[in-house]
Structure formats: structure tokens, C-alpha cells
Amino acid sequence: MEPLDLDLEEAELELPTDPTTMLNVGPAHPAMHGTVRCVMELSGENIEQVDVQVGYLHRGFEKMCERGTWSQVFPYVDRCNYVSPMLNNVGFALACEKMLGIEVPERCQYYRVILGELARMSDHLTCVGAMAMELGAFTPFLWFVRAREMIWDLMEEETGARLTHSFGRVGGMAHPPTKAFKELARATSDHVVKVVKEGEQLLLGNRIFLDRLDKVGIISAEDAISLGWTGPCLRASGVPYDVRKAHPYMVYDRFDFDVPVGATGDCYDRFIVRVEELKQSARIIEQALEQMPDDGPINADDPRVVLPPKEEVYNSIEGTIQHFKIVMEGLKIPAGEVYSYTEGGNGELGFYLVSDGSGTPYRVRIRPPCFLVTSGLERVITGEMIADVVPCFGSLNMIGGECDR
């Protein structure tokens, strides 16, 4: 092979007349987990302009919700944020219960809190792990995913499904906790904390990892608020807004936990806020497991919405009729509108429901935290280098199903 020693002085080098390059990333690019497309205008390696395009995972959930009964919405909300479906289930159930004016028994509230916090853990583990993996650190990802697997095993034990549980019900849950629930939840939560601490040691001592996150993708608190950011991304910018603290729902006001906030709002803060929240979730689970009563009903005592026990359905005419009416006509929610919000994995998960009094929802609007966070991606990466797109996008934790619905 001949050596490649071209004489550059003699070779005619032509500089491009247009100094900008268009670059298309996605929608099916490995670093764009989820399906999102970024069309970028580059000047050298700097991003001058960017157009973020979403919608590749749009499945028309809001339209589909208008065609079934209220209970048939649960499988749809499961598939919105499919990394933490339990939080969506509970969020939707709470919205319906707010309209009906019922409250579930205390045992169920604790059950929902514990399952929800475990789901939040799995959400954050995925985000933190995937973020590390995209920057080349594969081991923490595998560790975190193994820890997540433990959470999903617990979910399978409790609900029968690993991922899309459809376990929430208006006025309760589909099943009471299993006998080993408390033991299992405690073990899982402890294990997750252990894994997180180990993973932290691997990552936070790593110069390459830190350099790629530090002071990259900064967004100020004002911008984050204006963009409608909520959840870990907003808290990383230094705004201590957490729905669980600001507007406590269920039994969240009984727990002692902290809301971690970041200082600069860069990728590192978004990473570390999630890591801290994992530990806070473990704290909540620990306290909730202690306070949760061992016996008692799990479903609200309201025959309008809660299915009767199977013995009654098979052995009494009233039970049969009640069951039939709830399943076939759907439970009736009084006409009106409601906006109910909970803290989802990525921020404020809101449900704006409009009911016309029949068994079918008139309008189900899911307020997706991801959609608004992704809308800020443009502002986060404009002016950064092309290599920074990966950590920035990873730290926002865009979940395609929730963003596009």
C-alpha cells in the first residue's frame, strides 16, 4: 500500500461556500431511544439550529379512550409511560375518584404508594442506566437493569404482568396485596439502593463520564418553568417543585422525604437528581411498609363503581346484575370535568377528564410530562456540540409512548 502523503499545498482544497451542514438523526437512531427525529443545522460541530420532530409513536390513545368504558382506559394509560405504568394507573384512578367523590381505603392508598414508588424506581433506573450506557459505560446499565428486573419480578408477583399491569381500578386495585408483599418490597427496595450506590461509585469517579455531563445542556429555572417542565428535569434547574410535596395526594403527607434539587440545571444535575430520588423513593417505601395496615379492605365500599366479589356474582341476582351493569355499560361518572395531577416518573402527570354522565368518557386528555420536556430539547441543545446531543437527550428521559400517546 502506498503511503498517503499528499502534498496539501499543491492539492486544490476547496472550502465549502455554505459553511453549514444539515444532519438528520433519527427517528430510528440508536442514541435516540424512543422514536424522535432531530434535523440539525451544523456549523462545524456546533449546532446552530435544530428541529425536533416527534409523533412517530402516536397511536391515538385519546381517541380510543372515547370509544370504551372508563375502566377500559386503564390498558391505554399503561402504555403511555411503559417504564412506570403503575404511576399512570394510579393517576387515572385518582382522577376518576376525584370526579366520583370517593376515597379508597387507607390500606389501598399505602399499597398504591408503595407500588408507585417502585415503579418510579424502575423509571429512574432505566433513565440513569441508559444515560450511562449511551456514554459508553455499559456495566452500570446492566446492573441497573438487573435491579429493575427485581422490581418487575415483584410487580409480576403482585399483578401477574411484568410491564403493562392494568392493575389499577376506579375505587381500588384489582387484587389485594399478596402475603409476601411487604417482605418482597422491602428486599427489593434495599437491593435497588445497594445497586444504585455501587453504580454511583462506578460512574461518579469516572472523569470521562463527568466531563461529558458537567455544564452541558444547561437550562435556567425561568426557562424550565416557562417550558412547562416538571419532575426531575425541573428540579435539576433548582426549582423544588414536586407534586408529592406541593399538593400531597393519597398519604404522601405522612412520609418524611426530601426533594433533591440541582444547582445549575445541566445534564449532571439531571442525572444526580434522579439518583437521589431513587434513594428518597426507598425512604418512602420503608416508611409506607411500616405504616401500612395488614388487614382491611382494599376496595372502596361503593357498589356504583366497584365490582362485587365473585361469590356474590355467581350466587345472587343482585351481584350478577351489578357486575353486568358495570362491565357492559361501564361505571357512570357524573357529568363534569376534572383536572387531577400526580407525580409521574417524569413529572406532573395530569388527567383532564370530561364526562357527559354516560359510561363512556367524553374526553380523556393525558397531560404528558415527556411531551413538554422534549419540547425543550431544542433549547437545550442549540449552541452545544453534536456529541452533547446524546447526554442531553438521555438526561431528559423522553419516553416515546408518553410523548406521542
Binding site: E337, Y339, Y352
Partner: protein, 192 residues
Amino acid sequence: MAEALVKAVQSQFGAAVLETHNQHGDETIVVDAGSWKDIAAFLRDDRRTQMNMLTDLTAVDYPDREPRFEVVAHFCSLTRGHRLRVKARVGFEDGEGAEIDSLADLYGSANWMERECWDMFGVKFKGHPDLRRILMYPEFEGHPLRRDYPAQKIQPLVPYRDVDNIEKLPPFGDDMGMSFGRQTHAFGSHEE
């Protein structure tokens, strides 16, 4: 606290506030579509309200009513911890003429949510910097979340787009490659 909020808006805008209610504890005002943006600016800047976040913006379609669409915005104040729902009614019964001022220069979050609202309902936001479809593709016909849009409606196939500077053609001709399921479905009245 939230009642004081409604009073503050009422005292400022008087007749532009058409209705108020607080069903399930959510304070709601229905306002005249003409003063939509003024009210949003007031809510954002006034010392008593300080609504620094536009949490949600969407629409609801009532095909039998005139005005047909209800544009619903949820405002939230992180500093004072209160919330307010503001609604405005726009559009004729046939779905035309649904226009309202854009809030995109007041709130960054309005940008995408208004695009979604336009995409799904066909409500136009006047003054929006970039009112494109967001969840649907550009060639999509109709607005899917309208009540009169049938859920099983089949959209026409999209021809290959002519994009400047891209000469690369797809690797297959018309009769090669993947067959499109939608073309071969015998779906109701749809025939080849």
C-alpha cells in the same frame, strides 16, 4: 385563595369573564376568546396571580354546540401554589373559523401544545411562530380528535416526498418491497 384569583380576573376584565365555577375544587373561568391572550398575560404578570407555568393546553369538541370547540388551558403558579383553568369557546358548527390568539410568546410550553391542538382539533392559533402538525404527518387529512372524525377512517397513501438535495430513491419500485397493509385491507366501503 383560588376564589380571590377568580375575583382578581373578574375585576380586571369584567364582562370578558363569561362564567365561573369550581367543580371538584378546580377553579374555572370561561372567558371571551378575544381577550384570551390579555387574560393569560395578566395571569402571568400580576402580583396577585403569578401564574408562571402553563401546565396544560388542549381543546374539547362539542359538535352540537356553537361555538363548537372549547380551548382549555390550565395555569399554575409555582410560587403561590394555586391553579386556574381558563376556557374559551371558538369555531362554527362546521368546524371552520376556530381561531384564537397564540400564547407562544408568553409561555414556552404553549408552542408544542398549540401545535398539538391544531393537529388534533384544527383550532388555529393566531401569531404562532410555527403552526405545523406535530403528532401526525404533514399529509394527514382532517383532525383526528374531532368527534366527527371516524376512528376507522383510512387515510390516503402518501406519495414519495420531493425533498431538495436528496436524490436517493427508496430501494424498491412500486411493485417491490413491503406491501402496505392498508392497501389490501377490504375495509368497509374501501375498494381498489
